[in-house]
Symmetry: C2
Subunit: 124 residues, 2 copies
């Protein structure tokens, strides 16, 4: 019976053909908190830009200042600074001031692990 069709009214009042109502309701129950999901999406999104990804990949090995990263990416320091702020807002990197320079590093081990799992998938 689970594959039989059911035409019914959804709780938002729209008449729709729902094939597996059980699965839909189950999925709704299992969904994580909207706040967590939003933050998780932002985390992936921030890694989804080639230049930001290059930054975190480089920081896997050693901390670097903005100037280093700009030279590495062949990008303006302003552009790098903008990207670093996004990475920092999501707790992917942390900064440490030393005189005039500010050194960036990965914030915790989860970040490196996230990169490794992603690489495994890409190289499968």
């Amino acid at each position: 019976m689970s594959s039989s069709r059911a035409s019914l009214f959804e709780d938002d009042g729209c008449r729709v053909g729902v094939v597996h109502m059980r699965r839909v309701e189950e999925a709704r129950r299992e969904t994580i908190a909207e706040r967590d999901l939003e933050r998780l999406a932002l985390t992936y999104k921030v890694l989804g830009d080639p230049n930001r990804l290059k930054i975190v990949m480089a920081l896997k090995n050693v901390e670097m200042c903005v100037c280093d990263l700009a030279a590495f990416l062949r990008l303006s320091e302003s552009a790098v600074s903008h990207q670093l702020r996004r990475l920092k807002d999501l707790a992917l990197v942390r900064k440490r001031r030393e005189g005039q320079r500010i050194y960036y590093a990965l914030d915790d081990d989860h970040v490196a692990e996230l990169l490794n799992v992603g690489l495994e998938h890409v190289r499968e």
Copy 2:
């Protein structure tokens, strides 16, 4: 000496102040292939949208057809179909036809692992 400043000509001809040339060169050597990096960035990017993320989270538990997912997300089937194509292009989901319906599921275990590691980071 590694913290001394070095003003020099980069190989692209731009005069820039590079603080830790060793680190920059090391980072350039360690960089993964541009093709892999591009693909890795696309993988994260595709997970970086709340609706697409909801889709893969739901598919962690059970396969679902487009109609189910549209009901679950309260989104048009067209919109869901567009998103599913992006997920499929990056091998995050696979499809299986059964009559008129097409069922989607996660493509491999890496995907679920990627979600789990991401969740750990968000909830830390």
